[in-house]
Amino acid sequence: MEETIKQHYPEKEKNEIFNNEFLPHISSMYNFGYRLTLDRDDAKDLVQDTYLKAYRFIESFQKGTNAKAWLFRILKNSFINDYRKKTKEPSKVDYQEVEAYYNSEDVDRQITPDLRVESLKDMIGDEISNALNSLDVDFRTVIILCDLEGFKYEEMAKILDIPIGTVRSRLHRARNLLKEKLSEYAKSMGYKNTEL
């Protein structure tokens, strides 16, 4: 990413970069932190830690480049290295299996044929948010980056340190899992015959 060339900024310029390029992303960062930790206090700690690191390593950032992706990458790394290690068990997802599935003939088989646009219209409460939060954190992350934050595949690959092909396959699987969860909600809300 951008950190390969070391920059030299005077103190005043550092503060300008921090205030004008880093701080405008704080609400997106807070949302990302919250969606990863599912706890608002932990999200605050994670965001604060990320911004302090960003300031400390500001000379690794090239002014005017993609600050949001750079900050998201630091937050993701802090989450994995500091937060998840302390609090959560490691990821249980078998990505080889995911990749094999994505590249197989089965990929066109509709896993969730029983979800319709109509049934989504009644989900006016926390159903979508709860469905997202219920996913394994690695699947949740790709949906957050792509659908909530609008990152491109290439940016996601850099933030997550994975190849673009893996971004695609993980996103595909994540969306199917999300639809399965939404189908469960739809059924519980009374959509019995929800064939497409």
Binding site: L120, I144, D147, R168, R175, K179
Partner: protein, 89 residues
């Protein structure tokens, strides 16, 4: 016409599945040529059409229901304070 040339076909000659094409369209990763091909493909492929409508709706709901909360103002203040303390120490 659409059967003559498929811009989704990969350099190795493999044709991506409907779901793989749909994902590129949904995420704005397709070229204009691929978008045009997919639009005409959807006219003949009912599962693609239905999945497209559903996926667009889910994407829209995620954006409207799971974003929008502002970071607490005290968090911004704390960060600024920490940085100025670190700078003076």
């Amino acid at each position: 016409m659409s059967k003559l040339y498929n811009p989704f076909i990969l350099s190795d000659g493999n044709k991506p599945s409907c779901m793989q094409m749909l994902q590129l369209i949904l995420d704005g990763e397709a070229s204009h040529e691929q978008e045009a091909y997919f639009k005409s493909h959807m006219d003949q492929c009912s599962p693609c059409f239905k999945s497209y409508s559903l996926d667009i709706k889910i994407k829209e709901l995620l954006k409207t229901r799971c974003c929008g909360e502002s970071a607490p103002t005290e968090l911004i203040e704390q960060i600024k304070m920490q940085i100025s303390q670190n700078a003076t120490s």
